[in-house]
């Protein structure tokens, strides 16, 4: 039993962190997702990692770092679809009862995968000409199109594949959110040390210090849950896969949201500006909590 990052995993984490700091600084992240982002991530192996022999635990470490840096794009879908659907792949769960669908990043996609009860379909972006681009999307880094009726596509996988993708997608989304939660702790702590009021750093006020401590704990517990779920996915005899993944999605989703809000509070008026990055973390956490199952839905599943 060795439930801590191996030396290789520490090197992997540091490598991705360095890549993000060098290639995906906030100025680039704010320009949004495009094919050059995809190409660089593809070259690093983010999408092919499991085909290249990496375990879920490794991929989850990569996604934690991508989330920490808030690298935008349909990264999870492109990873899941690798080897089955080529290129830049986005995805969506088919809405029940004919409700409209909100589709992310359509303009950059080679293919859209759609999950439903019966399996996995692929829809060509050209079939989505009827969709309307939202001119005021919640998350500025997640462009969205709305379509009243999502057309049927070509079936490429059965219900078993859809289940596998939902599980992998929930895990990687949780990993990304755990990274976001950690980034919020780091950024808010740095601001708490730098910003002075009443002649001292605001982080020395206990109300702020305790808020930051709670945020740090939430991020760490979420990260641990994500690592554990990835290990169980790699070695299913060591636990209950669905339970572990749902637990991770609950804790990481709650942590990302709570910590983005906590960070906003610590930043004071700056937190309410467009210029400071806090709102980007907050908005993305809402987006991701509505992707691959909300924390509430996963909590219900756990209690069943």
């Amino acid at each position: 039993m060795n439930f801590d990052l191996s030396d290789d995993q520490v090197a992997l984490r540091d490598g991705i962190r360095k890549l993000c700091e060098g290639r995906f600084d906030m100025a680039r992240v704010r320009r949004g997702f495009d094919r050059s982002v995809f190409a660089e991530l593809a070259e690093t192996g983010v999408f092919s990692a499991r085909a290249d022999g990496f375990a879920w635990a490794d991929v989850s470490i990569m996604f934690q770092e991508l989330g920490r840096a808030l690298v935008p794009g349909p990264l999870t879908w492109s990873h899941l679809a690798h080897g089955r659907v080529d290129g830049v792949v986005g995805g969506v769960e088919r809405p029940r009862g004919g409700e409209p669908a909100y589709l992310e990043q359509i303009d950059v996609l080679d293919a859209l995968v759609v999950l439903d009860r019966d399996g996995v379909e692929v829809v060509a972006p050209s079939a989505l000409a009827d969709s309307i681009e939202l001119d005021w999307p919640l998350d500025p880094l997640t462009p969205v199109r709305r379509i009243t009726a999502l057309p049927a596509g070509e079936r490429v996988g059965d219900a078993g594949l859809a289940r596998t993708w939902r599980r992998g997608g929930a895990l990687l989304t949780a990993a990304y959110q755990a990274g976001m939660a950690q980034a919020c702790v780091e950024r808010a702590t740095a601001y708490g040390l730098e910003r002075h009021q009443f002649g001292r750093p605001v982080g020395s006020f206990q109300a702020v210090k305790h808020l930051l401590a709670d945020m740090a704990v939430q991020a760490e517990v979420a990260r641990t849950a994500v690592d554990a779920a990835a290990c169980v996915l790699d070695d299913p005899e060591t636990g209950d896969v669905d339970r572990a993944v749902s637990g991770a999605k609950v804790l990481a989703g709650d942590a990302a949201l709570a910590n983005a809000k906590g960070s906003l509070q610590v930043h004071g008026g700056m937190g309410f500006t467009w210029e400071v990055d806090v709102h980007l973390y907050l908005k993305r956490s809402w987006v991701l909590n509505a992707t691959f199952g909300s924390p509430t839905a996963h909590a219900e599943a756990l209690a069943r």
């Binding site: 801590d4 206990q206 930051l212 760490e220 804790l251 909590a299």
Partner: protein, 379 residues
């Protein structure tokens, strides 16, 4: 990174299960909670059985009679004994988990020889006399005075919240030996024989209506200088050395129980809101289990990761949510404290207070982990 136990851990589990299956049916029935003489007999008898079977002092070094088990085995030991509903550590708590490790780390050879084998065999019961009416969170502000007189210290003062104080034969006693030094530097650690003249012990009734802890009044109690553990005025460091000894396993039994209780609540959750809350509590408890495994992994390599400082705060909160959920689900059934789940709700109210309150935990996380400015008043 993995969660898999080794073959030798699994072999240990099988052997332990086997022993538990043979041993537990032989135990006498558990005594009533206020029958303290019987509780002492019951708990120390259990400790003796553990000792005879080679399971006492799982984390203690071999040269002091321990098993020096790898952390994964300690985890398996606590998990299996709790699941099998074996007796808790009970009155052996302070001796086996705190005083013993302190003597191992800081005691003199005669102190070790006198106490360690007896603690392991269940022949000695210890209690902890640290807190005072004026010194709780600010423990280093303690005022119980020890004045040197020949080969004795003469100790006068008052201690409070001493768990098992009325049955302990020995106490871990923190006293002030230099009133003029800065507060952390004038403290000494003494072994107190609880039957010395001048000691009065008065049980305090807890909100459960039981008497688990006591006030201890010390009136010119003579304690031999040879009872001092570590150097004079170095008691604060001695106290803190021990804390690293548990290797992150302090709450394992607690957590096994909590997870079992959460599972038992499953069929009671008819309302969606309750189901969601239960799901969140289950997720938190699962993650805290994984965090324990991580802390234990790191501790075995001598690393103190962030999780070690965070565990207690996170567990306090998860346990509180579980307690509230069980009360809500029991409804008017909760009017009867004989329901174990109600008793548990009451008992676990102490978790955010004992051994460093949640506010103190947040201070520690904020200052030591996040590097936020320290409060001036700490020094």
């Amino acid at each position: 990174m993995d969660l898999r136990l080794s073959e030798s851990d699994e072999a240990f589990r099988a052997e332990l299960r086997d022993w538990l299956a043979r041993t537990l049916p032989e135990l006498p029935t558990e005594p009533a909670r206020d029958d303290w003489p019987a509780r002492v007999r019951y708990d120390t008898d259990w400790q003796r059985r553990l000792f005879d079977a080679g399971y006492a002092g799982m984390s203690w070094p071999k040269e002091y009679g321990g098993r020096d088990a790898p952390p994964s085995e300690q985890l398996v030991f606590l998990e299996e004994t709790t699941r099998a509903k074996a007796p808790y550590v009970g009155v052996n708590f302070v001796g086996t988990l705190h005083a013993g490790p302190t003597l191992i780390a800081e005691g003199s050879d005669p102190q070790r020889a006198q106490h360690l084998p007896r603690i392991l065999r269940g022949d000695e019961v210890w209690c902890q006399c640290f807190s005072e009416p004026g010194a709780g969170s600010d423990l280093a502000g303690l005022r119980t005075r020890a004045v040197r007189d020949g080969n004795d210290y003469v100790v006068t003062g008052q201690k409070i919240w001493c768990s098992f104080g009325h049955v302990g034969e020995y106490g871990e006693l923190l006293v002030r030996t230099d009133p003029d030094a800065p507060k952390h530097r004038g403290i000494s650690w003494l072994i107190l024989e609880m039957d010395r003249p001048g000691i009065e012990v008065r049980p305090i009734e807890t909100l459960l209506g039981s008497s688990e802890f006591c006030e201890v009044f010390l009136d010119e109690v003579r304690v031999p200088v040879e009872n001092r553990v570590g150097a004079e005025n170095d008691g604060w460091r001695v106290t803190n050395v021990t804390l690293s000894f548990e290797r992150g396993t302090a709450f394992v039994s607690e957590m096994v129980d909590a997870r079992q209780l959460a599972e038992e609540l499953r069929p009671l959750t008819a309302e969606p809101a309750d189901r969601r809350e239960l799901g969140r509590v289950l997720a938190a408890l699962d993650a805290l289990w994984a965090l324990t495994v991580r802390n234990v992994t790191q501790a075995s390599r001598g690393v103190v990761g962030p999780g070690a400082l965070m565990f207690k705060l996170a567990y306090s909160e998860a346990r509180d949510r579980l307690g509230e959920l069980s009360m809500r689900l029991l409804g008017r059934g909760a009017f009867d404290v004989h329901d174990e789940r109600v008793e548990e709700r009451l008992r676990t109210l102490s978790i955010p207070i004992a051994a460093g309150t949640s506010q103190i935990q947040r201070n520690i996380i904020g200052e030591r982990l996040l590097g936020l400015p320290r409060e001036k008043s700490w020094e």
